[in-house]
Each structure stands twice: as structure tokens, then as C-alpha cells.
């Protein structure tokens, strides 16, 4: 059966997923430890930065974006930028009201 876009996909080895999982758990524990030590206003930035790094790996490897057509990655980036823009603009509004 040869038809549109049904070509055999790239096979990701089991090991890759285990490495990524280990990295994600390590980042989670780092985030927990860092936020327990109060870093003041840096805490929020730090926790969100780590969450962003974690989601990058989930999207690229677990969700196969690295091996899919570019349009999916572009879509995800667009959605992420839109949400960030709305949050930033809304907060600016509250800040300078």
C-alpha cells in the first residue's frame, strides 16, 4: 500500500527515550531544589525556564517533532509565542494602569 505520506517513520531507539526521561526527572528535581532555596524574584523565572527546557524535550523527542515536517514545529512555536505575548501584554496593562 503506497499512498500519500504513509512512508515508514523514523524509529527512535528505546535508549533515547530513557535518556530523555532521566534528563526530565533530573530537571524536575533541580527545579524543586532551587525553588525551596528562596531566590526571590528569580525563583519564578528559574522555574519557568526549567519548565520551558522540559517542554522542549517533550515536544522534540517524545512528540517526534524533530523527525516530522517543519510545519508542526512552526505551529507549536506560533502557539507558544501567542500565549506568551498575551500574558506579557496583559501584565503590562496591569503594571502601567
Amino acid at each position: 500500500m503506497e499512498s500519500l505520506g504513509n512512508e515508514k517513520n523514523h524509529i527512535i531507539p528505546y535508549r533515547t527515550f530513557l535518556y530523555v526521561l532521566a534528563g526530565l526527572i533530573a530537571l524536575t528535581l533541580t527545579s524543586v531544589t532551587l525553588t525551596q532555596i528562596s531566590l526571590g524574584t528569580l525563583t519564578v523565572a528559574m522555574a519557568l525556564l526549567i519548565a520551558a527546557i522540559k517542554s522542549f524535550f517533550v515536544l522534540r523527542i517524545f512528540m517526534h517533532l524533530k523527525f516530522e515536517k517543519r510545519m508542526f514545529s512552526i505551529g507549536v512555536t506560533a502557539v507558544a509565542l501567542l500565549i506568551s505575548a498575551v500574558i506579557i501584554i496583559t501584565l503590562l496593562d496591569y503594571l502601567y494602569r
Binding site: 500500500m1 499512498s3 500519500l4 505520506g5 504513509n6 515508514k8 517513520n9 524509529i11 527512535i12 531507539p13 528505546y14 527515550f17 530513557l18 530523555v20 526521561l21 526530565l24 526527572i25 524536575t28 528535581l29 527545579s31 524543586v32 525553588t35 525551596q36 525563583t43 519564578v44 522555574a47 519557568l48 526549567i50 519548565a51 522540559k54 517542554s55 517533550v58 515536544l59 523527542i61 517524545f62 512528540m63 517526534h64 516530522e68 515536517k69 510545519m71 508542526f72 505551529g75 507549536v76 502557539v79 507558544a80 501567542l82 500565549i83 498575551v86 500574558i87 496583559t90 501584565l91 496591569y94 503594571l95
Partner: protein, 202 residues
């Protein structure tokens, strides 16, 4: 079988549809994150104190559970591609069990708060002031909506498991398995942000 008896199939379109749906899910939770940001900005002290009451241990445990379940369903796709049906089913089974474990933890967590009379509409909570009402309102709504997604994901994966058993999902045609995986990863992705926002940033 002649050529026109073939069932039309387009895996790329199938995945594109799934991703478009995931974008709407991201925007749904994105909207809630906007609400969270504003209320946190306006009630910094109440949010700080209320967040300190959540159990970092249960939150961390649930994060690890969900991350692991994401890895197992991702590996089930590899197992399917390598034509290992048994391992595919085993990994799907582990994913479902981990999802249930997540919900059981949530049950005990919510149960603990409810026993302390902290729930939307509670008069005890109302006495603590507007900031606490907003924090716990968002906490119950956002983690509740997330838990609902876990439940839907479990049903979705349950169906796919049956399809794998019946060879309807097979090494030649497994886009449904990939799509159920994508949904499950999205649920994981949302938790990656919910966890620090509710449990860690105190």
C-alpha cells in the same frame, strides 16, 4: 484485491488533524494561564501563602509518574515499529497504570484539602479572603481540567490497546497509536507548567 478496493489512508493528514486539535488545547490552557498570571500579580501575598500549603512531595511524585508514563507510551511506538506486539501492549499497560496512579494521588490530595474545608464555595475558605478563594478556585479548576484530560487520555489509550490486540493497529498502520501518544504527551506538557506554578513558586 484491486486498487480501488483499497481504503484511502493519509497518515500525514491524520497527524495534522491531531496537532491542530492539540493547538486548541494549548490555547485553552493558555487562557487559564493568563488568568492565573493576573490574579497572582494582584494577590501576591495570598498566592504565596496558599501555594505553600500544597504538598511539594505529592506534586513531585505525580510529575515523575507522568513523565515516566510519557516515556513508556513513546517507547510503545518504537516497539510497534519493531513489530514487537507484546512489548507494545506491555508499555501501553504500564502507561495506563501510571495514569491511574496519578489520579489516585490527586484523589488523596484533593481529599485532604476538602477535609480541611478548602474547596470552592466553602465558607471557611471565604473567610480567608479573596486571594485564597482565587488561588484555590484556579487550583481546583486547572488541576481538575487537567485530571479530566488524564481520564480522557486513559480511555483513548484503552481503545488503542484493544485495537493493537485485534491487529487493527499494526506495524503497517499505527498512526492511531502515535496520535494517542501525542495526546498523552500534551497532558504531560501541561502538567510541566502546572506543577511549578501551583506547587513550587511560593
Amino acid at each position: 484485491m484491486s486498487a480501488h478496493a483499497e481504503i484511502h489512508r493519509d497518515d500525514l493528514a491524520s497527524k495534522t488533524g491531531m496537532w491542530l486539535f492539540l493547538f486548541t488545547e494549548m490555547l485553552l490552557f493558555g487562557g487559564l494561564f493568563v488568568v492565573y498570571s493576573v490574579y497572582r500579580f494582584r494577590n501576591p501575598v495570598a498566592f504565596h501563602l496558599a501555594a505553600g500549603e500544597l504538598s511539594v512531595f505529592i506534586g513531585t511524585l505525580n510529575t515523575v509518574i507522568l513523565l515516566t508514563s510519557s516515556a513508556t507510551i513513546a517507547m510503545s511506538v518504537t516497539a510497534m515499529q519493531k513489530q514487537n506486539k507484546k512489548l507494545t501492549l506491555l508499555l501501553l499497560g504500564i502507561t495506563v497504570l501510571l495514569g491511574i496512579a496519578f489520579l489516585v494521588n490527586k484523589y488523596f490530595e484533593w481529599g485532604g484539602h476538602i477535609r480541611e474545608h478548602i474547596y470552592p464555595g466553602s465558607s471557611v475558605l471565604a473567610l480567608r479572603g479573596q486571594g485564597d478563594v482565587l488561588f484555590y478556585g484556579l487550583y481546583y479548576f486547572m488541576t481538575g481540567l487537567h485530571a479530566l484530560h488524564i481520564l480522557i487520555g486513559l480511555v483513548f489509550i484503552g481503545f488503542i490497546t484493544v485495537f493493537v490486540v485485534r491487529n487493527k493497529v499494526n506495524p503497517e498502520n499505527f498512526v492511531l497509536l502515535e496520535n494517542s501518544g501525542l495526546y498523552w504527551h500534551l497532558v504531560d506538557l501541561i502538567w510541566i507548567f502546572l506543577f511549578p506554578l501551583f506547587y513550587l513558586i511560593t
